[in-house]
């Protein structure tokens, strides 16, 4: 294992301290999400406000980040979430993660608070805190263009106007659309008076066995390109999923009051608005769209949550809302969910014009666009919506019955989980709240997967029928583990075994890639155990910050209201079945009956030691 570096940037004191990342951390947590989560567990005190200077924002890249490894574009941004008050962690593509490594650092911790607007410049092994007065107030595109004009060919991760105004659902952005979208990491950066972290470096990433790496890449390229799914993702991107979810009667519509929406949002309708497909660093899947409205996207998430969930069915409107979120630095998932929630509350008379200042409701593009701007500037009703799910404090207790969120995080994706039960368990137990990218056992949608294949992937007892509660804990447990591992390597989970296909990268591939890059051997079982260790570390962090087993639950509507339309008509999550899945999941995790990590395990995790 070769030396990798991290730094703590103390914004209050204007000081930078560099460290070699302890070998024990690298072996125990790899990097990226894993080391970020371990750092949060060690550095964040119990009971602090997420906007306190005592909170930290950690940017971290995995050991495969920035190499030839496929889709090795990712980094994680982590901190105590301003949106949820628990673990905040968000994985992001683009080109920034690799560039941070080229600049000499794998992890960067921002702590304290700068006295004036600043940015952090990381260049060829040097870190400097610089004045950002010329950049404050710019949107996410403008600031990146200005930084490049002033500094040359740099990559930056920035906060937009929303983050400057500490909007709880503000994201970090790099490039036009790549987002560390979830959990309000943009608000956290803004609260520290930081506009951007900029990286540039000429040194590349050390690869221990370059010849082996080249051979391996040939093999892996053929393996991935041989999958039916790769060309689909490369030509259609994720919007293809809209039609799939809609065919299943599982598209969140008008705040999940309905579950089927218009065919006008099918992927083929998007094609006329797409200029070309593009990719992140080192990726041949190229699943992203450059649209003809001067932006990038939309992803499936935007199609569903800024479309069906807001009662909109005209693609240009949805692309424009997507671009607005990108520019302002708003998380598409939370923004679409929170607007849908407010519209239903207004329809039901739970909130009224006195609070909103105007009539609000579904199916109004101009209104939605205007509210996104108001949220980002905290103007009028936008100031309340900017609180995300915490707006319930203003809306009143009844409003919580209609909030589609878990642990205060609005649900990330547009899939209504009442039909496929494992999806429900996944978002209920995910460490950052309602999010499909933590543990979604997507291949549950392959209804015809043979039982033996299911068991080979998920383990003994896994079941084929997606609508039963038996055997679903295995599916979530498997996915949770492998996604934690891939997030910690620096690879994109779109090519991860079990996310899109049973024929994507597995622990054996991770092991080979790690050996080629770092020269260290990691057995497959060890890599799976790293995933488990990360999940337990995040659980310890969350329990330290007030989470209990009762928070592993679902929105009331998913339990109480049967779905109304299509294939999934009549389906809901039964509480008894849900409790059974949850109990089985705790058992697989070796947590106690109250969902707590056992003391012996806590000791093991803490034995990895504090800062050197």
């Amino acid at each position: 294992m070769y030396d990798r570096k991290m730094a703590i940037v103390d914004l209050s004191k204007g000081k930078v301290k560099e460290y070699t990342i302890p070998k024990k951390w690298q072996r125990g947590f790899l990097g990226g999400r894993g080391i970020n989560s371990y750092l949060l567990y060690n550095l964040i005190e119990k009971g602090i406000d997420p906007f306190s200077p005592k909170n930290v924002l950690v940017l971290g890249v995995g050991p495969l980040g920035g190499t030839l490894a496929p889709s090795s574009s990712r980094f994680n941004a982590s901190g105590l979430s301003p949106e949820t008050g628990i673990l905040g962690d968000s994985n992001c593509g683009g080109f920034f993660g690799p560039e941070l490594r080229f600049a000499g650092f794998d992890h960067l911790v921002l702590r304290g608070k700068s006295k004036k607007p600043s940015y952090v410049n990381v260049q060829d092994g040097e870190i400097e805190i610089r004045d950002a007065k010329d950049y404050w107030g710019l949107d996410t595109y403008e600031v990146q263009i200005s930084l490049r004009k002033d500094l040359g060919d740099v990559e930056s991760v920035v906060t937009g106007v929303a983050g400057e105004n500490k909007v709880r659902m503000a994201c970090l952005r790099t490039g036009v659309k790549n987002a560390a979208g979830r959990c309000g990491m943009g608000a956290l950066m803004g609260s520290k008076n930081v506009k951007a972290v900029v990286a540039s470096g000429v040194n590349g990433v050390k690869v221990e066995h370059p010849q082996r790496m080249l051979e391996l890449m040939e093999e892996i390229k053929d393996y991935l390109m041989g999958s039916k799914i790769t060309p689909i993702l490369g030509s259609q991107g994720t919007p293809l999923l809209y039609e799939v979810s809609n065919a299943l009667g599982a598209i969140r519509t008008k705040n999940s009051q309905l579950n089927v929406w218009s065919d006008s949002l099918n992927a083929e309708e998007l094609e006329q608005h797409v200029e070309k497909m593009i990719s992140c660093s080192s990726c041949f899947t190229h699943c992203r769209h450059r649209n003809k409205f001067d932006g990038e996207g939309p992803e499936y998430t935007a199609v569903g949550l800024l479309g069906a969930n807001l009662g909109l069915d005209h693609y240009p409107d949805i692309i424009k809302l997507n671009n607005t979120c990108n520019e302002l630095g708003l998380d598409v998932s939370s923004a679409g969910s929170v607007l849908g929630w407010a519209f239903e509350l207004y329809e039901r008379g739970i909130i009224d014009k006195k609070m909103t200042g105007q009539e609000i409701g579904f199916g109004d593009f101009e209104l939605a666009n205007d509210l996104l701007h108001k949220i980002s500037r905290r103007e009028g009703f936008g100031d309340i919506l900017a609180e995300s799910s915490q707006a319930a404090k203003k809306f009143g207790p009844k409003s919580k019955d209609y909030l589609i969120a878990v642990k205060n995080l609005p649900q990330s994706d547009p899939h209504d989980i009442r039909y496929i039960k494992a999806f429900g368990l996944g978002i209920a137990t995910a460490s950052r709240g309602a999010d499909h990218l933590r543990s979604r056992p997507t291949i549950e949608i392959f209804f015809r997967l043979p039982q033996e294949v299911k068991e080979q992937i998920y383990g003994k007892g896994a079941t084929t029928d997606p609508t039963v509660y038996d055997g679903k804990a295995q599916a979530v447990h498997f996915s949770d583990n492998i996604f934690a591992t891939i997030d910690s390597l620096g690879l994109c989970k779109f090519i991860c075994h079990g996310f899109n296909s049973p024929h994507y990268l597995k622990y054996e591939h991770f092991s080979k890639l790690l050996y080629a890059v770092t020269g260290s051997e990691f057995k497959e079982k060890e890599l799976e155990n790293i995933g488990k260790r990360i999940i337990d570390t995040e659980r310890l962090f969350n329990f330290k910050h007030g989470v209990t087993a009762k928070d592993d639950t679902l929105p009331k509507r998913y339990f109480d209201d049967p779905m109304k339309q299509g294939v999934s008509k009549g389906h809901r999550i039964e509480r008894k079945g849900f409790d059974k899945m949850k109990k089985e999941y705790y058992k697989l995790r070796k947590w106690d009956e109250k969902g707590r990590v056992k003391p012996q395990r806590k000791k093991h995790i803490e034995s990895h030691g504090g800062l050197p």
């Binding site: 689909i232 065919a247 997967l449």
Partner: protein, 89 residues
């Protein structure tokens, strides 16, 4: 009897159509898919695996019911929907 076959992307790209109205003999979903794969070889390539069975990645919904077994009878007026699921963010 008349059966409607609905294809989602990317399957519909194979034949440039998303709806097919088929005149078929009585039979099961399996026999229907064998028939359609013969009639439309380009679609057949997408639907069938190396052994000539329906690729497990292709999902089948008969009217409003997702199927995990294909030896189910089809009846006059039925709609069969075929799609390949993917995931994403």
């Amino acid at each position: 009897m008349e059966i409607t076959l609905k294809l989602l992307k990317p399957l519909k790209d194979a034949i440039g159509k998303d709806l097919l109205t088929l005149e078929v003999e009585e039979g099961t979903v399996t026999s229907l898919l064998q028939h359609v794969s013969k009639e439309y070889p380009e679609l057949g390539k997408e639907l069938l695996d190396d052994k000539g069975g329906l690729d497990y990645r292709v999902n089948v919904i008969l009217n409003d019911k997702p199927l995990n077994e294909l030896d189910v009878e089809v009846n006059d007026g039925d709609q069969v929907t075929l799609f390949i699921p993917v995931s994403g963010g």
